[in-house]
Amino acid sequence: MRLFGQQKLLNNLSRIADDKFPLFSIIVGPKGSEKNVVAVMIAERMKDSVVHCGISIVDVRTTISTSYKVKMPTAYLFEDVDKMSNEAKSALLKITEEPPNRCHFIMTIESIASMPATIVSRAAVFYTDAYTKDELNAYAESVDVDNVVCEFCDTPGDIDVFKTNNPDDFLEYVDLVLDNVAQVGIANSLKIGDKIALKENADGYDLRLFWKAFMYECMQRAEEELPKKVAFDYASGALLTSKYVSELVSVRGVNRNMLFLDWVLEIRREWE
């Protein structure tokens, strides 16, 4: 298992003695930041048997009741628990209060805000490192993707998603939207979302990556156009888009269709 970054996190983790490693820990990091790989590495370091657990309420309850009966050291991994229901999170409180001795519970999550404070206060929380340009370039090279992608991808996971979204067409589409979103009629502009994956598992460009590429392109143009007024329009477009990216990540169950349409209308209003 190879990591392309996270050296600082791994160094911090290695400073904790095996017998003092917290029984309940949360690893926080954006999508594609290899946090699940780190979780498995922790489990392997503890020489625990690794169990990948589901996040439904039934799975959580089954895991809890099993953990009190196992005799061998086991690490229970709950991956990407942002989508875990509130009932399942409440059920987890039991193990945070009285964790069984031979077990480690490791959760990975994108946003700590989606975890109840009662669980966070009982866990050791570790944050993934931000990737350096060099690390991202190294990953992009290893998967044969143009280095420009590192300007708006924050993690190796983002680069993987970008690669699956026909990269040349994707960048062309970002430019097309940027040039035309405020120029065409409303009816036409509302069709922009047709090429974006606005539902889970739908075909289309990844929404978060699209917006990040859009922001990057806005800032590039802003720099090129300085000191003209239009430079500030591009910068305000990037700022506006960043609020939507933030909402996309932080609001659980966000309606992407509504969010995207709202963004289209706001960008038009901003650039009118």
């Binding site: 009629g185 409303i186 047709d194 909402e247 609001v251 269709n257 969010l259 349409l261």
Partner: protein
């Protein structure tokens, strides 16, 4: 276990000590419970929870009485594997039987998976049988009115029986009062027209969205009440309103002759949007879309209560 196997068990009187009945047809379940009580020669006893019968089951006295216990929706029993195992083990050593009735069976749960063989699902009876039952009570009922009756009662046998009872009582009172016999079918038609036979609020959500987009304030709030009464979720209302508002905005602002090609909407969507277009200006439609999105986010982040959200939205946009 299916209904056919249950019938066979009743005939042979070899029934499992615990049976689980699920599904909407409560009247049919009631009939089977009566049949089982008769076959086992046991008195039926309805209790609230399985834990209430444990002392009786544990009682080893020779003179204790056995019952056919009937319990509806015992959540504690369904959630506790320990209790399920204990009750199963205990009741098998007695002459008592337990029928657990479950109103809404979740097939994703561990309970369903581990008790599949004990569960008998009473799904809706086929229309053919329902017509037969209706004609048993109202012999002159036409085929068309039978279909209407079944639709009004949402294919629920229990409700059909209740409404037939209503028709019969009304008919008898009418005949006594007016000294004129309009027949049971006539009575049924009169009751449907006057709203005495309850008509379920079908498609209230689409009528609501139409009323909002046509800026009919009174009708919007009335249909909102009806939508809540029929159990429609706020999120569904918001999504349907959003999609329709977007379509209206596209249709209203489209300058091309080929609206479908320009907007990507289907002909049916364009027709529906044109029906309600023109009551809001472009800026007002944009404001509506922003507001819907704002309310949706606020519900998900806990900043607004679900039950007030639609009222707040309607007050903002109408």
């Amino acid at each position: 276990m299916d209904v056919g196997s249950l019938k066979a068990h009743i005939k042979t009187k070899e029934l499992p000590h615990i049976m689980i009945f699920a599904g909407d047809e409560w009247q049919v379940q009631k009939i089977y419970i009566e049949q089982i009580a008769k076959a086992l020669q046991l008195e039926k006893k309805r209790v609230d929870a399985v834990s209430d019968i444990l002392p009786a089951l544990r009682n080893k006295s020779f003179v204790k009485q056995s019952f056919l216990y009937v319990i509806r929706d015992d959540k504690e029993f369904v959630a506790s594997e320990k209790l399920q195992n204990y009750v199963t083990k205990t009741i098998e050593n007695t002459a008592s039987y337990l029928i657990l009735l479950i109103t809404k069976l979740d097939k994703r749960t561990k309970f369903y998976n581990s008790h599949k063989d004990m569960i008998v699902e009473f799904t809706a009876l086929p229309d053919m049988w329902l017509k037969k039952y209706i004609k048993n009570y109202i012999p002159d009922m036409s085929e068309r009115n039978c279909n209407t009756f079944i639709e009004l009662c949402e294919h629920d046998y229990g409700r059909i029986l209740l409404e037939i009872d209503k028709v019969k009582n009304w008919h008898d009172a009418y005949v006594e009062d007016k000294e004129q016999d309009i027949g049971l079918q006539g009575a049924f038609l009169r009751l449907v027209t006057s709203g005495v036979i309850y008509r379920p609020p079908a498609d209230a959500i689409f009528d609501l969205v139409e009323a909002i987009l046509m800026r009919d304030v009174e009708k919007s709030f009335a249909l909102l009440e009806e939508s809540y009464a029929s159990g429609e979720a706020t999120m569904v209302m918001l999504t349907v309103l959003f999609n329709n508002a977007k379509a209206v905005l596209q249709v209203q602002t489209c300058t091309s002759n080929n609206i479908s090609k320009s907007t990507g909407l289907t002909n049916w969507q364009i027709m529906s949007a044109k029906k309600v277009a023109g009551h809001y200006k472009e800026a007002e439609l944009i404001k509506m879309i922003h507001k819907i999105k704002e309310v949706e986010t606020k519900i998900k982040t806990g900043k607004i209560e679900d039950k007030f959200a639609m009222d707040y939205l309607l007050l903002s946009i109408l």
